[in-house]
């Protein structure tokens, strides 16, 4: 939803502006493979970040977001969002170097982001737009899927930022002291925060999210109903026009998720509307 969404203020919503959870939102997404090639035809994409570098990248994403929007220092609400996310995590299965940490950004804009190694941030505006816990679980599951599938790291590598680390490869284990490392991490985090994922990544995150939800006992239809509401709010079939032109349109995403759920024949799953309403009442006031 970071891309799931992406952002759209309520004002923008009212004015028919862009939106975010549209899942797919945002320009770009295409990879300049040429940028992956460095010296002697070495494909830097084959290199990868160390677990510690991934952690630093994920934390830097969270730092950038919380410097862009205020964090909502609300223990009960953050606890609630975290617990829903951690219940979804019970359906994720074994992962490496991922530890989910959740936060709520105090902005009416509708959005959610995933940083490498599991930093999940969702906006107050997105929460206010939801109707039950299965919708929250659905959005969190989509973002968690981005983290589990390492889409942010992939984006970092595709942008050629590994080259900024290549020269300090030997020093990375103890690294961080040099400006190149700092600039690469900051640029990578900015990329993950600002640039939409590819169509493929968004579709993969949707498909994985449905699996997470079913495994954890939540109704996978929550993701579907939320996307439909976004579509209605948007009033546009393709998810916001040019801004989301490179991503699967909402209709396509909704159709794909609906088809996946239909094929699965899953049990209804939990919706938990009552406790969602009571736990989020404060932000709706």
């Amino acid at each position: 939803m970071r891309r799931l969404v992406l952002i759209l203020t309520l004002t923008a919503l009212l004015s028919g502006g862009s939106m975010m959870l549209a899942g797919g939102c945002g320009p770009g997404g295409k990879v300049d493979t040429g940028s992956l090639i460095r010296g002697g035809g070495t494909l830097l994409q084959s290199q990868t970040l160390t677990p510690r570098q991934e952690k630093v990248l994920g934390q830097t994403v969270a730092v950038q977001l919380t410097n862009r929007y205020p964090l909502l220092y609300d223990d009960p609400l953050t606890d609630y969002v975290s617990k829903v996310g951690l219940c979804v995590a019970s359906g994720v299965g074994k992962t490496e170097n991922v530890r989910f940490i959740f936060g709520v950004l105090d902005t009416p804009q509708v959005g959610a982001w995933a940083g490498p190694t599991g930093y999940i941030l969702i906006t107050r505006g997105a929460l206010a737009m939801m109707r039950d816990e299965s919708e929250l679980a659905g959005v969190l599951a989509h973002e968690m899927a981005h983290a589990v599938k390492r889409h942010g790291v992939e984006q970092f590598k595709q942008a050629g930022l590994m080259s900024g680390l290549a020269d300090v490869g030997r020093g990375l284990a103890g690294g961080g002291e040099n400006a190149q490392f700092i600039n690469s991490m900051a640029a990578g985090a900015d990329l993950i925060v600002s640039k939409p994922y590819s169509r493929q990544n968004e579709s993969e995150a949707d498909a994985e999210a449905v699996k997470f939800l079913v495994r954890s006992g939540y109704s996978p239809k929550g993701l579907l109903t939320f996307l439909k509401r976004l579509q209605q709010t948007q009033g546009r079939e393709d998810g916001g026009g040019q801004m989301f032109s490179t991503h699967p349109g909402l209709s396509d995403r909704i159709a794909a998720i609906g088809s996946q759920i239909s094929r699965g024949g899953y049990a209804p799953g939990a919706v938990n509307k009552g406790r969602f309403i009571s736990n989020t009442a404060r932000i709706r006031a």
Binding site: V63, T66, N67, P70, K83, G93, G265
Partner: protein, 188 residues
């Protein structure tokens, strides 16, 4: 009369001060590690971090921000982080879900907090780019303080998570049907 003139000014000042004190608005910090900033801007420098329950005196309000005085320091706190009433004490029931607020077991809290936190390199990146890390540190502490028993109670109350282990994942028979995931949803 001269004696009266000599004393009426300080006496009046004392009365004014007392009146001001009586009218001063007091708020309570609602969560731990609430940052006090130099300006009404989330990107501004953090002067200090206040613990949950700290009383602050309102100096002024600027939009969604409140200029407060805590002890001998003044700074800005985001309004949502303050409340007219003191926050519930650690261990109080949360939302009727049977879970408890984090922090009721200091040893457990400190142990889990020690296992998390920002990487030194993250601090270096943030410092070089002039970004504040207090919000993410708060997130880290918040997450570290959520105990597994709380999550289990929450999952049980909502019939999700590990408590779905033995629940059927299919509503209709399917010959090749394996649970979609092959994962029985065990606790992680």
């Amino acid at each position: 009369m001269r004696s009266f003139r000599r004393w009426w000014v300080p006496a009046a000042l004392a009365l004014i001060c007392a009146g001001s004190w009586a009218l001063a608005e007091t708020l309570f910090v609602q969560s731990d590690a609430t940052p006090v900033r130099t300006a009404a801007d989330p990107a501004s420098e953090t002067l200090a971090e206040l613990t949950k329950g700290t009383q602050v005196e309102v100096v002024a309000r600027e939009g969604e921000w409140v200029k407060v005085k805590a002890g001998d320091r003044e700074g800005y706190v985001y309004g949502e982080s303050l409340g007219a009433a003191a926050p519930p004490a650690a261990g109080a029931a949360l939302g009727g879900l049977g879970s408890v607020l984090k922090g009721s077991e200091p040893s457990d809290l400190s142990a889990s907090a020690a296992a998390s936190g920002l990487q030194a390199d993250t601090e270096k990146v943030a410092s070089a780019k002039k970004m504040d890390t207090s919000a993410v540190r708060w997130m880290e502490r918040n997450r570290a303080a959520i105990r597994s028993e709380e999550i289990a109670a929450f999952a049980a109350a909502g019939q999700v998570g590990p408590y779905r282990v033995n629940a059927p994942t299919k509503t209709k028979p399917a010959p090749k049907a394996k649970p979609v995931d092959g994962n029985k949803g065990g606790a992680r």
